[in-house]
Each structure stands twice: as structure tokens, then as C-alpha cells.
């Protein structure tokens, strides 16, 4: 289904949705939201693009196969879980930088855990949807 309206709208919606998903990711570690929702929104952005322009062109924007995001995300999350063990704290303890960073706010190991989840969710959702789309 090629529609000029959808294609034009997607050109503007894709960056906005990605920005929104990044906002959700950052908001997560003190407030509701976080990696899972952010990942879903980001993958919806790509799904919208693939509906408008076809799966092949979305794959071209992504550059890599989405499945390769899964191990990267898992690795980031696992490392952030285990990081406190280096400081002789139990795993999963939140470690925080002393000073907040402008715009982003407080940064801690929880953010990296969320980042991992974010990547895994994008990887899983896009892998499943693209597999179904390319089968047809």
C-alpha cells in the first residue's frame, strides 16, 4: 500500500517518535516509563516507516539486522546489573553519579539497565515483525 500522505507524514513522525521514545527511556529511572515502553515506541516508529515505504527501505535505514540489537542490549543490562559487585555491593544496587547532567538529569546504573531493555525490545519487536513481513 503506497500512500503519499502516509509517506510524507512518516518522514516527520519518525524523528518525533524516536525523540519521544528517548524521552520515555530517560524518564523511566525515577518515574513511570522506561526502557520497555520506550523500546515499544521506537519500534512502532520503524514499523510505521515500513508500512509507508516497505520493509526493505526500513532495513536500509537501520543498517544492521535488528536481531543484532538483542545481544548488545542484554550485554548492557547484564553489565549494569553486575557493576555494583565491583564496589562490593550486592548486584542490582543503584550506582549514581554525584552531579546531575543537564537535560538528562541524574545518571545511574539503572539508566544503563533501561537502555539495555530498550535495545532488546526494539530488537525483538522488529525481528518478529520483519520476519512476518518478509515471509509474505
Amino acid at each position: 500500500m503506497k500512500s503519499a500522505i502516509l509517506q510524507t507524514a512518516t518522514r516527520y513522525l519518525l524523528p518525533i517518535l524516536l525523540l519521544f521514545s528517548f524521552f520515555l527511556l530517560l524518564r523511566g529511572h525515577y518515574f513511570p516509563g522506561g526502557g520497555f515502553v520506550g523500546g515499544l515506541v521506537a519500534s512502532i516508529a520503524f514499523v510505521l516507516h515500513s508500512l509507508a515505504n516497505g520493509t526493505a527501505s526500513t532495513m536500509k535505514i537501520l543498517g544492521y539486522k535488528p536481531i543484532s540489537l538483542i545481544p548488545i542490549g542484554l550485554a548492557i543490562s547484564t553489565v549494569s546489573i553486575m557493576l555494583p559487585m565491583l564496589f562490593n555491593l550486592p548486584p542490582m544496587t543503584g550506582l549514581w553519579f554525584e552531579e546531575p547532567i543537564p537535560v538528562i538529569g541524574m545518571i545511574g546504573s539503572a539508566l544503563f539497565f533501561d537502555l539495555g531493555v530498550y535495545l532488546v525490545v526494539i530488537g525483538v519487536v522488529l525481528t518478529i515483525l520483519f520476519t512476518i513481513a518478509l515471509d509474505e
Binding site: 545481544p71 542484554l74 550485554a75 547484564t78 559487585m85 550486592p90 548486584p91
Partner: protein, 504 residues
């Protein structure tokens, strides 16, 4: 004592799986990583075991939240013993898998999923929080479902549907039980629950809740009315997968039952009678099911069911001696059952079939391998110096002390049928002349020597473990005695989890 490193076995498996995901579709690298990761996991488990054996219970508060509120991980002797055995079995299966699993299955992620499964097992053994236990059960189910369906043959899918349906039902019962328990006490920490359940006035409600746990764990560990999913699904996946399932998965159910019924619910008269009836029925149905089977793996599946009954019976008697028997049997069973399915895989490699009617003459062609297999089979039956013999002594002794003559009878029938079935299998597979000489599909002989070694080595390793358990029974009895006294007198466990808050 607080030790922040008790989750190390879980992390080793998790890391192995994640790194393997990075090498998606590079099966050779995955094989090396799997064997390497399992070996490191084994070393870590040995270290954890020796620490707990010397220093007593170790605990870890995840994310530094104090005990009854956050999730606690507890390494007591029962947990670490099972972690150690799981690691041994995992190492053996991972070596065997490098040859015994088809390349097609490896391409679709056999190894990462296998390590996620082992991670789930380690986590289930180490957690001290009942909801976290449920979460690890889910990790186990999801990975085992993937392992069971990998390959997508029709028989596999059929078995997997039964397996999945029953296990989801079990999870639902388990979750309902947890919900009721939380409603009664407002806590999920097992040590905290132990204290709070005793204060609950309404005894019937506690009894009903405990029935949910019996149902949930009963389905998982395949006891009498709920076991049929096991024999109808365990013969479908490749032998390496069946070995993991047969050796380890049902034992998680037994572990959970031991933990919940020693710590949270102390079995009352009704529960004990119920468990005893279930145990006798499980032993008898499992044993009679095993008699008529001609496929080796189906036969082994029924033997699993039969021997689960021994352990349930031990839990039903609930005394120090009986629990010693249960723990010893658990130790023996993990090593032997894993090995039996690996042996089934080897026999299939040697002859291309697992049907006893079509097998024969293995002893003539492969005398050394046959002797190795005989050692394992004798341990399973429980010929005196070998490992299956010792736990049965404790069970018999306690059953006579408590005048549970039905259980004594069931034990005798179960043991004799096991003996008969195994002797029959030995005669058919190893001694009998093969039915038609010319059609032997031997895929083992043309294999390169190192590949042969990779198939036989894990079986030898597990056989050595069994031999050690049998010949050095004194050490194992000592461990089992310590574990069972910790299970009977839970105050050390509860103190270790809750009281250390004051030290901080």
C-alpha cells in the same frame, strides 16, 4: 553471612548465553563457548559449595534492600548441592551436545537457550523469595519449551503442546498459591513467610493454600494423577535435551516441594497422608508403565515418574532420616537420570534406533562402552555398593519405623520392577543377537576419534560421579544429614535471612 557473590553461577550462565547470542549462527564458536562457560560454571559452583559447606548459609540482598522487603538470595547447603549437581550435569550435557545435536538446531539457537535454562535452574535453587522462585520457573518453562520445539518435527510439536499446557497449568496453581499466601501474610520472603504463616489463625485456609502448592509442584515433578505429560513428551526432543529435562527439570519440582513444605508449611497429618498416597500411586503407575515400553526413552521416562514417587514418599514421612533419604536420592537421581538419556542418545548413534525389539548385540560390538553403560544401569537399580542403594536404606528404615507398610510395599515393587526392566533392557539391547544383521545403521563407527570421545566422555564423567556417590557414600551421607537437619530445624535459615539486618 552476607556474600555478594552467591549469584555467580547464575551470572556465568547468563553471560555465556549472551556472548553466544553475539555469535549467532557461528555454531563452532558457540560450541567452544558452551563447553568453556559450563566449565567455568562448574568451578564457580564447586567454590560456592565449599564455602557454604564450611561457613554455613550465605545470603545476598538484591539491590541492597533489606531482607523481608527486597528479594533475597540464599545459598544454604541444599541449594548449593543442587547447583553443584546441575553444573556437573550441564557440563556433561554441553560436551555431549557439541556432537549430539544437529547443526540445524544449533543454527536456531540451541546453545544460548540451553544456558538460559541452566541459569533459570540455578536461580530457582538460590532464590529465597517465593515470587522470584515463580519467575525462575517461568524462565525454565520458556527455555524448555523452545528447546523442546527446536527442529519442529511433528512428534516434537505434539509433545510440546502437552508439555506446555500442563506446565502453564502448574504455574497458574503455583501463582494462585502465592497470591493466597500473600493475602494471608503480606510477605513473599520465604523466611519471613515461615514466621508469619505460623501466626495465621485460620488453619483451613493455610491447608488449602498448601494444596495449591502441592498441585503446582506436583505437575512439575510429575506425580501420580498429573504425570502423563512427561512420558508423552520426553521422548520427542534430541537426547541431549531430554537429558537436561529428565535429569533436572522434575527435580526442581522436588526441590521446591522440599523447600516450601519444610520452611513455610510444616506438613500436617492430612498433607502427609495425601503425599503418601500420591507417592505410592506414582511409584506403582510409573513402574507398571515402564514394564510394557519397548522404546528406551519412553521406558526411562516412566522410570523417572516411578523414582519421583520415592522422593515424594520421603517428604511425606517428613523426619530427619526420611529427608536424608530424599536428599541422597535427589543427588543420585540427577547424576543417573541425566546420564541415562545421554546413553539413550549414544545407543541411537550406535544403532540408529531406540526400539528394543530392533536392537541387540551391542555387547559383542562395543564391549567397553557396554561395561560403562552397565555401571550406570546398576547404579540406577541400586546394586549395593553403587549409588542407588544407599538412599533406599534410609527410606526403608524410616518407613518401617513409621509403620508405613503400603509405602514399603510400593518401594519394594518399584525397586523390583526397575530391576526387571533394566535387566530386560540389558538382555535385549546388549546380549540378544541383533534381529537382522545386515540393516545395522551404525553412525558411530565412521566418526572421527575425537568426536567419539566427545560422545563417550560426558557419559564417563557422569558415571564417575555416580561411582563417587556410591563408593564414597559416607561423605554424601554427611552432606545429606546436614541438609536434612537444616530442613527439619529451619531456625538457622530464618536467622541467616532475617537477623543480619542488625549487623548492617
Amino acid at each position: 553471612m552476607i556474600d555478594n557473590h552467591i549469584l555467580a553461577p547464575v551470572f556465568v550462565q547468563l553471560f555465556t548465553a549472551v556472548i553466544q547470542l553475539m555469535f549467532w549462527r557461528k555454531t563452532l564458536t558457540q560450541r567452544y563457548l558452551s563447553v568453556g562457560g559450563s566449565f567455568i560454571g562448574l568451578l564457580v559452583a564447586i567454590r560456592l559449595f565449599s564455602r557454604v559447606y564450611q561457613d554455613g548459609i550465605l545470603t545476598m540482598n538484591a539491590a541492597n534492600w533489606d531482607a523481608p522487603f527486597g528479594i533475597v538470595f540464599v545459598a544454604d547447603l541444599l541449594s548449593v548441592t543442587l547447583v553443584l549437581l546441575t553444573s556437573i550435569a550441564c557440563f556433561a550435557v554441553s560436551i555431549f551436545s557439541s556432537i549430539g545435536v544437529s547443526r540445524q538446531r544449533m543454527l536456531y539457537g540451541y546453545f544460548p537457550i540451553f544456558h538460559f535454562l541452566i541459569m533459570g535452574l540455578h536461580g530457582a535453587f538460590l532464590t529465597g523469595d517465593i515470587f522470584n522462585l515463580y519467575v525462575y520457573f517461568e524462565v525454565i518453562i520458556i527455555s524448555s519449551f523452545v528447546l523442546m520445539t527446536l527442529g519442529g518435527r511433528k512428534a516434537q510439536l505434539e509433545g510440546a503442546v502437552k508439555y506446555m499446557a500442563m506446565n502453564i497449568l502448574a504455574s497458574m496453581f503455583f501463582l494462585t498459591g502465592i497470591g493466597l499466601l500473600y493475602g494471608l501474610t503480606g510477605s513473599l520472603n520465604m523466611a519471613d513467610l515461615a514466621l508469619k504463616v505460623r501466626q495465621v489463625q485460620d488453619g483451613t485456609l493455610v491447608g488449602i493454600t498448601s494444596c495449591f502448592f502441592i498441585l503446582g509442584f506436583g505437575i512439575k515433578s510429575a506425580v501420580f494423577p498429573l504425570y502423563y505429560w512427561l512420558p508423552s513428551s520426553y521422548h520427542t526432543p534430541p537426547s541431549a535435551v531430554a537429558a537436561t529435562f529428565g535429569g533436572l527439570l522434575t527435580k526442581v519440582g522436588i526441590y521446591a516441594m522440599l523447600r516450601v513444605f519444610s520452611l513455610i508449611f510444616v506438613p500436617d497429618e492430612f498433607t502427609r497422608t495425601l503425599l503418601m498416597v500420591i507417592a505410592c500411586a506414582t511409584i506403582l503407575t510409573g513402574a507398571f508403565g515402564a514394564i510394557i515400553k519397548t522404546n528406551i526413552r519412553r521406558l526411562f521416562s516412566y522410570l523417572i515418574v516411578c523414582h519421583i514417587g520415592f522422593m515424594i514418599g520421603g517428604i511425606a514421612m517428613f523426619s530427619k532420616l526420611a529427608l536424608m533419604g530424599v536428599v541422597f536420592y535427589l543427588i543420585h537421581d540427577i547424576a543417573v537420570k541425566t546420564n541415562m538419556f545421554l546413553i539413550a542418545g549414544l545407543i541411537r548413534q550406535l544403532r540408529g534406533t531406540m526400539d528394543m525389539d530392533k536392537l541387540g548385540g551391542l555387547y559383542r560390538d562395543y564391549p567397553k562402552i557396554s561395561v560403562l553403560i552397565a555401571l550406570v544401569l546398576f547404579s540406577l537399580v541400586g546394586i549395593p555398593p553403587l549409588s542407588g542403594f544407599w538412599p533406599k536404606i534410609f527410606l526403608f528404615q524410616e518407613a518401617f519405623l513409621q509403620t508405613q507398610y503400603f509405602f514399603v510395599a510400593a518401594l519394594i515393587v518399584g525397586s523390583f520392577v526397575t530391576l526387571y526392566v533394566i535387566a530386560n533392557m540389558w538382555a535385549q539391547v546388549f546380549w540378544k543377537n541383533p534381529p537382522r544383521e545386515e540393516e545395522v545403521d551404525d553412525r558411530f563407527a565412521p566418526m572421527q576419534p575425537y568426536r567419539k570421545l566427545l560422545m563417550v566422555l560426558p557419559i564417563g564423567m557422569l558415571a564417575l560421579t555416580t561411582l563417587y556417590i556410591g563408593l564414597n557414600a559416607e561423605a554424601i551421607v554427611l552432606v545429606a544429614e546436614k541438609i536434612s537437619s537444616q530442613l527439619i530445624d529451619t531456625s538457622t535459615y530464618i536467622e541467616a535471612v532475617l537477623n543480619k539486618n542488625n549487623e548492617l
